[in-house]
């Protein structure tokens, strides 16, 4: 079925259980799909844009109210919707980082955090994760001391992932922010995998910025995200324009340079808004998501030779496993080679594993129903059994 010339209608989430690690939390709610149908036209949210002519001030549809609600929900004072978490990293880095400035990242940081630092001219200084793939306050202190010795000053900013994309491990942002504050280092909490998935309170964590990803974790269309901050930092990162044309003497009111005036418009923004009440509710029930993940994890670990590389018991549904000792052994002799696993799972109605991966791979059970989690668990075991693998207790 086509939805445009040469464009196949995507039916992945209707036909399969989707465990793609980056897609699970971004699947739309029914209300978001309905909002997109109504607001698909380009400048659809601008029908009632009045002075001061800025997106986050529009009251019909209730965009201004949404911005306030999101800020309060994240325990912060101000928020702006962004075209993805990466644009929030960029705005913050551009505000605080000058050429040659040291910036704290971690050995598990997402590449877009590095690029934001690079674009601003900063120097990436990684806090190493420990053997269990966890970034600790102790390692942060050690890195700050190392940076001070090398650069003669403290890092100007720290990007700390709440849950990292590599292992899906939960890091002690509160503890890290405490030691960062003691050294006057502003902290950006990258909540790309937590904002919209589990409760996040920026003030309680003691961070300066909370960044979320709409399309990764807030049941929103891409590209979407949020940058929330304190009243103090808002004056800096959401500063208004001061430029003036030398011929026309034009000035541009309350437009914010880091946001290029107005950011997230139309269907993307309204989709985010429509999902928001559901997102606020679902974060209260993250325990159910962990229970579903446990059902799948126990099934996977029952397959002889399978190991988990993420922290265990799980604190997040994004999980990294090592099946070198199980599925990869089958791949060695299977006629489909490493593609046998994703192919067999596809045949059972499961989508999201990287085709060809049988050694180290990730999956995310977020958003599955209990029935789907059990189906998923049974499917992994069935694929193992069909290929003569041993199932333990």
């Amino acid at each position: 079925m086509k939805c445009g010339a040469g464009i196949e209608a995507r039916q992945v989430n209707e036909l399969f259980i989707n465990v793609d690690p980056i897609q699970a939390g971004g699947r739309l709610t029914g209300d978001a799909i309905k909002a997109i149908i109504a607001y698909g036209d380009g400048y659809s949210v601008c029908d009632n844009c009045r002075k001061p002519n800025r997106l986050d001030c529009i009251s019909k549809p209730p965009i201004a109210e949404f911005h306030k609600d999101v800020a309060a929900w994240l325990g912060m004072d101000a928020a702006r919707m962004m075209p993805g978490a990466r644009r929030a990293f960029q705005a913050v880095a551009h505000t605080y980082v000058n050429k040659g400035d040291p910036v704290l990242l971690t050995s598990l940081s997402h590449y877009t955090e590095f690029l934001a630092v690079e674009e601003a001219g900063g120097v990436a200084c990684e806090i190493p994760a420990d053997a269990g793939h966890i970034v600790t306050p102790e390692a942060t202190v050690a890195k700050i001391d190392e940076v001070k010795k090398k650069f003669g000053k403290a890092p100007v900013l720290a990007f700390i992932d709440h849950v990292d994309y590599q292992c899906g491990n939960l890091h002690d942002v509160t503890g890290i922010a405490k030691v960062a504050r003691e050294n006057d280092v502003p902290v950006l909490c990258n909540g790309a995998y937590t904002v919209g998935i589990l409760p996040v309170d920026g003030k309680a964590m003691g961070v300066d910025f909370v960044v979320g990803s709409g399309h990764k974790s807030m049941a929103s269309p891409a590209p979407s995200g949020v940058l929330a901050t304190t009243a103090e930092r808002a004056k800096e990162v959401f500063r208004t324009t001061t430029i003036e044309g030398d011929v026309t003497k034009r000035r541009f009111g309350v437009k914010e340079p880091e946001l290029m005036g107005c950011t997230l418009m139309g269907a993307t923004l309204v989709g985010m808004m429509a999902s928001f009440p559901h997102v606020k509710e679902r974060v209260k029930h993250f325990d159910r998501e962990l229970e579903n993940n446990k059902i799948v994890m126990e099934a996977l670990l029952s397959i002889d030779g399978t190991k988990i590389l993420s922290e265990y018991p799980r604190k997040h549904t994004l999980t990294r496993v090592d099946t070198t000792g199980s599925f990869d052994r089958i791949a060695e002799t299977h006629k489909k080679k490493g593609f046998f696993l994703s192919s067999a799972l596809n045949d059972k109605g499961i989508f999201g594993l990287i085709p060809g991966a049988t050694r180290v791979w990730k999956f995310n059970t977020y958003g599955t129903t209990r029935k789907q989690a059990r189906y998923l668990a049974d499917a992994f075991v069935a694929v193992a059994q069909e290929n003569g693998m041993k199932i333990g207790a």
Binding site: N13, E14, L15, F16, G30, I33, I37, G349, Y375
Partner: protein
């Protein structure tokens, strides 16, 4: 063309969206339990009524 016809276009699309969500929740087998079957029946009946009204408005 009437405002009613436009409203019906949206409401029918929304009913189809609710049915779509039901398919997502029950993928990949789409085996509906009794509660889900009752919900699907309600949506489909409503959809038929709205399409019938739409025919009257547009034809």
């Amino acid at each position: 063309m009437s405002k009613r016809a436009v409203d019906l276009i949206f409401s029918t699309t929304y009913l189809l969206t609710d049915l779509r969500m039901l398919l997502r929740e029950t993928a990949p087998t789409h085996e509906l339990d009794e509660k889900q079957k009752a919900e699907a029946a309600r949506l489909l009946e409503n959809l038929e009524r709205q399409v019938s009204s739409l025919k009257q408005e547009m034809l």
